[in-house]
Symmetry: C2
């Protein structure tokens, strides 16, 4: 079968037409929720079936070697590393973002003994605040939670660690990785970045910024599937000095010696804990291959084209209905989703869902629309804005069925 090569307006091969074809997009669905749960790459159907039936069912225990299950955290981590500006050996995929955050924040404060403060963004995704609070409690530290704009003025010689999300989960505002990292270092503190809304949507460069630690999520722009394993990054210069608290056997230098004393593995691998979830991790690893051959500059350009087009259309068509763009207008500050605010946002999102336009909603009135560069298109952007416009004209948001409250995930 001939594969038709899509071309862009300039005649160059359009890498994103090719990547879009590799996702399952249900009939009639316009999906703007890749910042919450990425679409399913078609290849994972067969891949998971192979892992389950051939590797587990037929290969059994031998697949730890023969199917290389043992090195899945490192192999998936190396694929993520390219997207976030890390060395391949600095990233492992494992556990959940929350668990990984606990490991790296504890490690950071242990590298800065005597300092008694953690500074973090008061508007961070709540799980990050909960984990930071628990670390502070365990180490007798004080948490200073302030808006991101006030973090730098709160840095001083008592600060052990700064915990900050690179792309804000509500507004999609990008916080300057270089500036915050350097300011933290000037104060003698270490910085931990949460890249959950970054990797796969917005390139970043942890190494160039000299970032110390990072964590992130596998199921958003990385398309690893619901609750996919997360990842963590530890700068090579720190890894062998780190003592992480979840010292399970997979982080041991020689796990199969079954030694009673813990001797951590070299490098970031010491941040592994228990036996890793092979099926989910293998699916994530396979999904990450969809970024192969996608230049990061092109990924960013595509993302900005989509969000820019959306903002322009909102201004033109939806501002008269009272919609406010709650995301930065400056391209350099804008991640890969755009949030709108509207008093009837909840009902509008439900009405959109009934039309198979899928975005999500965050309290109290944020309508979030993710634009995943691998699969969203300009045509979908126009259709989305037209649909919201039409819902407002018809007052569809006011239907009782669309006002009934339920949780969005």
């Amino acid at each position: 079968m001939m594969v038709q090569q899509a071309v862009s307006a300039t005649g160059a091969p359009d890498v994103f037409a090719s990547t879009r074809e590799r996702f399952l997009i249900p009939d009639g669905v316009r999906y703007f929720d890749g910042n919450s749960l990425g679409l399913m790459p078609r290849v994972v159907q067969l891949h998971a079936s192979n892992v389950i039936t051939h590797e587990w069912g037929l290969g059994l225990i031998h697949s730890w070697h023969e199917a290389e299950w043992r090195t899945l955290p490192q192999r998936a981590g190396a694929k993520i590393a390219r997207l976030i500006g890390a060395k391949p050996t600095e990233v492992v995929a494992c556990d959940s973002t929350s668990v990984n955050l606990f490991k790296v924040v504890v490690s950071a404060v242990r590298l800065r003994p005597g300092r008694k403060t953690i500074v973090t963004d008061a508007d961070a995704f709540p799980t990050d605040l909960y984990i930071v609070d628990q670390v502070a409690k365990l180490f007798g530290l004080t948490v200073v939670a302030v808006p991101a704009a006030r973090i730098i003025e709160n840095l001083n010689a008592d600060v052990a660690a700064v915990v900050l999300t690179h792309v804000d989960y509500r507004s999609a505002e990008i916080y300057d990785m270089h500036a915050f990292t350097q300011a933290s270092h000037r104060a003698g503190a270490l910085i931990v970045w949460d890249l959950s809304h970054t990797a796969g949507g917005v390139p970043c460069d942890l190494n160039a910024c000299e970032a110390d630690f990072a964590v992130g999520c596998g199921y958003k722009y990385l398309n690893g599937g619901p609750g996919a394993p997360a990842y963590l990054y530890v700068a090579e210069r720190h890894a062998n000095d780190c003592e992480q608290p979840l010292a399970g056997w997979f982080g041991h230098a020689r796990p199969f010696d079954f030694a009673p004393d813990y001797r951590p593995a070299e490098g970031t691998s010491r941040f592994l804990c228990g036996t890793h979830p092979v099926i989910g991790l293998s699916v994530l690893s396979r999904a990450l291959d969809l970024f192969d051959g996608v230049p990061l500059e092109a990924l960013r350009e595509r993302s900005l084209q989509l969000t820019q087009r959306f903002i322009e259309r909102v201004d033109a068509q939806l501002a008269p209905h009272g919609f406010v763009v709650a995301s930065p207008r400056a391209a350099s500050l804008r991640g890969s989703h755009v949030s709108l605010r509207h008093p009837e946002g909840y009902g509008v999102m439900q009405a959109l869902a009934a039309r198979k336009f899928i975005g999500d909603f965050r309290m109290p009135d944020y309508m979030r629309f993710g634009f995943a560069p691998l699969y969203n298109t300009q045509e979908e952007v126009a259709e989305l804005v037209d649909a919201i416009d039409d819902i407002m004209r018809r007052r569809e948001w006011d239907k009782p069925a669309f006002q009934q409250r339920r949780d969005f995930t």
Copy 2:
């Protein structure tokens, strides 16, 4: 199609012939490693395909509600609860055994402030020792690691928690859950049981013993697949007093309120942390259904028949070759695997593997054979012993290929 109902020698329906048919058993393989990685239940092939393609690929984010992804930890936990003598609401499936152990040991020591000692089994599976050491370090406690037989004499008013594995991973010795739990309570301490080699192979009764906490593994006798999510149990009387350190958003009372302050969920659900791995957890949950309709007394009887037959045959056929049974001969003390010791054990296990008899090896000279009541048979036991006998007669263990060292998992 008529389904032929297998019957036992007594003419009663043989539940285990029916359960065995539900597993994929590769051609020619005799599998005695269900205590390390359970066989694949045939049903999970189609089940995983459905979760991936229909729930994720087509249902997308809505599957958190519509496919009930949200309650997977509780639903899988409730199925495990029956196997370990817990209330359905006292168990959740999540994270890894090591991560869960960290949560419950921290919770236990927080419930016993002022006490400065954790007592544990020096011969426990190493990851348990590593985690206990980290908890002790965080709380400034001392770990007393002694052989299980000396735990009770080390209990006193300074002991906050006892951490003990119910079925020893090497010898399969069962430690008396009632006696250790009651002795711990008399000293005012709380007890944490590791049930990794228990659940699905050996019934236990956490509630009847008044056990405080437990953790366990999903990929051994529960057949959840490689690196399947683990589980944890918290006695109902403690759960709402517990403060667990991995306070992620899924343990929050109202995760989708995105509140900046952590308010733990009621009961054992507060022990959830990050977003759970849906694919792996759903596979585990489906695999657990294979225990439906299997009475726990029958499960235990079947397990004992298999291990007893094996020990008898070893005594008769293999003792002359120098094999020593390293597992208890008393039925009441014996779990669902049997370990043999032999100086050439490593080479023997490799020679067995070449004949498609799969067990595993633990340093320095333990040959472990798991007898999973859901699928192993008396015929396989006889074939296993005959194969070892034959390998010894032919000195097959001495072949260079079988002496080459590699890790067993």
